[in-house]
Symmetry: C2
Subunit: 100 residues, 2 copies
């Protein structure tokens, strides 16, 4: 069960007010060695083997990124079944405890 990560960031030439706000806040907490901060989105998709790279490319272009102002990067993370199962049961186990 591979995990696909799609990172969506504003294009370099596009103004990034959120990034600027974080940069200023860094100064206020005494971190002065940062020259630039950019904020974007990160999507984690758990997919099965039927999903092709072409489909993932189309999903990124059509759904996840606005390609006029954003760039995106697709990273395929191979995970062994055990990790995938743990994460799935981890989430449902906690949910069960919440309901009891």
């Amino acid at each position: 069960m591979p995990r696909v990560v799609v990172n969506v960031m504003p294009k370099p030439e596009i103004l990034d007010p959120q990034g600027k706000a974080v940069l200023q806040a860094l100064g206020r907490i005494g971190v002065t060695g940062a020259s630039q901060v950019r904020q974007g989105k990160r999507f984690e998709l758990d997919v099965d083997e039927t999903v092709t790279e072409t489909e993932i490319q189309a999903v990124a272009e059509k759904l996840l990124a606005n390609t006029v102002i954003e760039d995106f990067e697709i990273v395929i993370e191979e995970r062994d079944a055990e990790v995938a199962a743990d994460e799935a049961t981890g989430a449902s186990a906690v949910a069960d405890r919440g309901e009891r």
Copy 2:
């Protein structure tokens, strides 16, 4: 000039309505092999050597993530000076062209 990437994702047990919306949209464009989608934030910080890992940890905990409902991961990306310079000039060059 290292680049620090901070990935902030909702904790597994936290409801992720944005991720659910993307999952449903995937079905509408014919991608049926996805079982879960989670949406989070990605921060890219360009910092100089004076910034310590402890400071980055504090920035992530205090500014970038709400640690009650979010987990974060810090990734240090070493970049050679040339790449860093290109990206910086790339952004300003495009901005110049825009002004002419």
